[in-house]
Amino acid sequence: MPTPTPNRGYPAPVNSDPADVPQALQDLAEAIDSDLATIEPTIHQRPFFRVTASAPQKMIFSTSERLQFTDLEANTENAIVPSPVMPINAVRPSAGAWWLTATCSYGAPPAGTLDEITFRIFSSGVAGLLSGSTVHVTPPAQDGTRTISVSTLARFSPPDDVFVLFDFHRVGVDPALYTLFSRSLTGTKVST
């Protein structure tokens, strides 16, 4: 009776086995083949997702609003399940630890000035607020748009969602509506 190898259990013949070399080799080959077939699916790309939007998003003064995304640019290895139906304002990553980056372009307000633009990334799970980024300078009209971004590591356990909040605070004349431009949320799984 062949002895199984210590780790993978491949059949290793012993001298008391029947002298049937082809059968022993076939048994070993099939055992290795079967084992490799179970290992192969565990080797894959890291799950990765990217959602974006380019159409302007109107923000209401003094409210924290979620970024909205209209395009699913990538969703590899079931990074987000089920694959979302656009538009969305949250993404549900698969279980594990994720490196996340969110970006957003913004411009000058239609009137008055802003003294704070804060960009925060959240989990709907117990972690809650994950990270943030702030600027206190209003872009002048001639500047076109500027971009703010934030990156962090976070761990998710479904049904945790990840979403991004944009806040602005005005000085003087109230810019009742504020426009965001291109925006993105990107994540790749880095650990369990």
């Binding site: 002895t3 190898t5 210590p6 780790n7 993978r8 491949y10 059949p11 290793a12 013949p13 012993v14 001298n15 086995d17 002298a19 070399v21 022993a24 080799l25 070993l28 290795i32 084992d35 490799l36 290992i39 565990t42 080797i43 630890a97 490196w99 003294d115 704070e116 804060t118 960009f119 925060r120 972690a127 607020l129 994950l130 990270s131 943030g132 980024s133 702030t134 206190h136 934030v150 990156s151 962090t152 590591l153 976070a154 761990r155 605070h169 880095v190 650990s191 369990t192």
Partner: protein, 191 residues
């Protein structure tokens, strides 16, 4: 005398005596060890060390003083987290992503003033792998964040902490803050 493949699988030569059971068993055992090594590496890639420590209780930072941030909560409950000492401990050699963020309250001191946030390492190539400074505000809060790609040789434990310094005339209160790290690659080899 048997020979070995480059990965170490033993096989008989034409001049060797015929002993099929032993020779096939050697191939089985050698292949077993190689495959198990690969399986272990695959598992290691999927389960990289990770940690996150943070705090939300206010911490008052006095003027012009480099101050270690208190990070008293471990959020992932992993061995990397050392909230009792306000830090993350990197023990495996390799490449890490580190990210940090702190929310600073506004204060009424005369502008301008800024907050420096730096990541500290006591066993890496640099004592300060990354730092950033941003202007703060009189009344509005400010998130300051910084990220780094960091390398640890694996010699000793690399203790990762956060420090801040500001030049406001008044003390600055920091609120939400966190420090996270994840190993993303080994320093050598193909995994």
């Amino acid at each position: 005398m048997p020979a070995n493949t480059p990965l170490g699988i033993t096989y008989p030569l034409y001049t060797d005596s015929i002993d099929p059971a032993v020779q096939i068993a050697e191939i089985a055992t050698d292949t077993d060890g190689i495959v198990q090594t690969l399986v272990n590496r695959i598992a290691a890639v999927a389960t990289r060390p990770i940690g996150r420590v943070g705090a939300i209780a206010n911490q008052v930072i006095v003027t012009n003083t480099l101050t270690t941030l208190l990070l008293t909560g471990g959020e992932f409950s992993t061995p990397m987290e050392d909230p009792a000492n306000n830090r993350l401990n990197l023990t495996e050699s390799g490449v890490y992503i580190i990210t940090a963020a702190v929310l600073c309250a506004g204060n009424a001191a005369a502008l301008p003033y800024s907050m420096l946030l730096q990541i500290n390492s006591d066993a890496g190539f640099s004592a300060v792998p990354a730092a950033v400074s941003l202007p703060l505000h009189n009344t509005r809060g400010t998130w300051v964040n910084v990220s780094a790609v960091h390398f640890h040789t694996g010699v000793g434990t690399d203790h990762i902490t956060l420090s801040v310094r500001h030049n406001s005339a008044a003390s600055v209160t920091v609120m939400n803050r966190n420090l996270t790290a994840c190993k993303v690659s080994n320093d050598t080899g193909l995994f």
